[in-house]
Amino acid sequence: MTLEEIIQLMLDSFFKILIPGLTRTIPLTILAFSFAMVIAVICSLIEYAKVPVLKEIVRFYVWIIRGTPLLVQLLIGFYGLTSIGVKIAPFTAAVLVFSINEGAYCSETMRGSLESVSYGQFEAGYCCGMNYVQIMRHVVLPQAFRTAFPALGNSLISMLKDTSLVSNITVTEMLFAAQRIAGRTYQYMAMYIEVALIYLAFSTILTKVQKWGEEKLNYYGGA
């Protein structure tokens, strides 16, 4: 192929790759990250408040997830489950595995941020007559969230890129689409670079959003 033909191919395939990005990669990222946040808040609060038994369960969960490869978790979540008779769609399996995986990492981030809020904040709250839940809600959690925000943003961006792994469990996301075209045209370099550029565009947008959010949250100096 001449260079012009390659460029033409990249232009022709652009939407074929972008559309799975908009219909698969982005929804997967948004859904899984939202569930992950719910898991992270619950798990980090359990660990922070040292709830007996539950906190052991959380530790076990985090230990398993952080100690095993994401790709293996995905394979278990789809092929593993399917092979033992659980009917699950690839996309659903992907959302499930990413939620659980990301939830574990983010709960560690949240716990660290919660623990960085000084105990004096509690004492001040108690002296104002507030109870534990009120102090958590109005004082500690907002501060912890502020501290955790940059790290959570980074996790989100990593996750967006990691969703390329779900091509391994037959979800037709961007990498899957690019691979299909590459297989047909043998233009592996062009297709992989093209898909890389689209990922780059997505993560650049997220990075901008993250920076903007940090500035919004920066109102109390962070210190």
Partner: protein
């Protein structure tokens, strides 16, 4: 009228007894200064009487009720805290709240006062401590003296029977101490009941009406401030005052 009475309070950390039977009786409008060398148990005493630290034994009479301080339940503690204020050495302002938010948070959450009304109260309290132009600033944007004045406004918000101060000016640069002390003096003049742990001898001598000297977990001497400073009875008190005096001169 007696606002607060503490009888025979004991507290140990490990095998070290920090409070060895302290009694105190506070009348309405009293401003009580507590003096004492470092480690004598002053902070521990204040923390015990607001239940930030558990007490081993002792009695509290507050608001017409008698409590066994070793066996407090959550409800009683909450009820007492709603009628007391506490000012910390290091301010402990809520870092995610503005000056106004710090003052109103207790009002809106604990007392369930409407936000607008709470803010009106908050603004007038911040005005009282000379900060009406700082209502929307966060603690990190305020000087130490300003933060401590916000903390005082926050303590006032609950309209407390008594406010406890734990060395409110010790963390401040010398040039900021005056603004905090003058706010406290105004409170005292307005009849607020206060217990103030302090190293500020002038405040103890001129603003407080009673002074207590504590050492090693016991009250060594107490009396009306004028008398306490002009005519201390115990040898140990005289020595302490001499020491503080010489420190003051060095300053």
């Amino acid at each position: 009228m007696t606002v607060l009475e503490i009888k025979d309070i004991h507290k140990s950390f490990g095998d070290q007894e920090i409070l060895k039977g302290v009694d105190i009786k506070v009348e309405k409008g009293d401003v009580i200064a507590i003096l004492g060398p470092s480690g004598s148990g002053k902070t521990t005493f204040l923390r015990c009487i607001n239940f930030l630290t558990e007490t081993d034994s002792g009695q509290m009479v507050f608001d017409g009720k008698t409590y066994d301080m070793a066996k407090m339940n959550r409800k009683d503690i909450a009820a007492i805290r709603k009628k007391t204020g506490f000012v910390f050495q290091n301010y402990n302002l809520f870092r995610n709240q503005t000056a106004l938010g710090n003052v109103t948070l207790g009002l809106t959450t604990v007392r369930r006062i409407k936000k607008k009304e709470a803010e009106e109260i908050g603004r007038s309290l911040l005005e009282k401590v000379g900060l009406s132009d700082k209502t929307d600033l966060y603690p990190s944007q305020l000087s130490g003296g300003q933060q401590q004045r916000v903390a005082i406004a926050r303590a006032l918000a609950a309209n407390p029977e008594i406010i406890y101060f734990d060395e409110p000016t010790s963390a401040l640069d010398p040039e900021l101490i005056g603004e905090v002390l003058s706010v406290m003096k105004r409170l005292a003049d307005a009849g607020m009941t206060m217990i103030v742990v302090t190293h500020e001898m002038d405040f103890a001598r001129n603003v407080s009406n009673r002074t207590i000297f504590m050492e090693n977990g016991v009250i060594v001497e107490e009396g009306p401030s004028k008398e306490f400073f002009e005519n201390p009875k115990m040898e140990r008190t005289k020595e302490f005052l001499r020491l503080e005096d010489s420190r003051g001169i060095v300053k």
